[in-house]
Amino acid sequence: MFGFIIQHILSHLPVWFWPSVAGSGLLVYFLSGFLTRFPGLKIYKWLFKPLGLVIFVFGIFMFGGAGVTAIWQEQIKEAQSKVDAAVVASKSANTKLDQVRKQKNKVIVQRQVVIHERIVQDAAKMDATCKVDPVAIKDLNDAAINPESKK
């Protein structure tokens, strides 16, 4: 949770923040001689230079980190836009696939209707010359049953 809060604060800092921290560090470093002229600050003479350097180094480090984070965020945005485009393409492909299948099924069913009409027409001729034994029908029906299907 603490890490998340820190991350959240860091990600909302303006671009100029860390360069200014580094700049402030440099200012403290270079103006350390001048600052020690103030009576109240004289006792901290030993502190200004190392403190300025530390602030400068920290500012530069964080500026680098912010830059890298910005690049990373840009890459995430780019990847997300690719994913969004893929979702649209996927839905479009599914719609096309569905339409093509409906058309193909229509052709198959139409063909079945034509064949059925032909069988009806030829039924008298077929039935006059051939009588099917019940055993043949039983064998055919048994062959039509899928042994793996649930009963």
């Binding site: 480090f61 994913v83 599914n94 079945q112 077929m126 019940p134």
Partner: protein, 90 residues
């Protein structure tokens, strides 16, 4: 040489950069492809007409072609979706 430290510090953060992971959602499947293939139609056992047998067999042929179409669709769907998914990873 004196600028080396700041430059090193600037690039130092890039070495701990996490990889960019944005996962694409699992693609939808058209509902018609999810329907199971029906069982084959049996011939009426009370009939002895060849025309009835031929008619049932031809209907089963139709069912086969409709079901085979679904298999083609699954292959087609897989290949298309795979291509789309791979395009997100380039």
């Amino acid at each position: 040489m004196k600028y080396l430290l700041p430059i090193l510090l600037l690039v130092g953060c890039s070495s701990v950069r996490p990889p960019v992971v944005v996962s694409a959602p699992w693609p939808d499947v058209p509902p018609s492809m999810m329907e199971a293939c029906p069982d084959l139609l049996p011939v009426d056992t009370k009939t002895d007409k060849l025309s009835d047998v031929v008619d049932t067999v031809s209907k089963n042929y139709t069912q086969y072609y409709l079901c085979a179409g679904k298999i083609d669709d699954w292959n087609n769907w897989y290949n298309t979706q795979k291509k789309i998914y791979e395009s997100t990873r380039k």
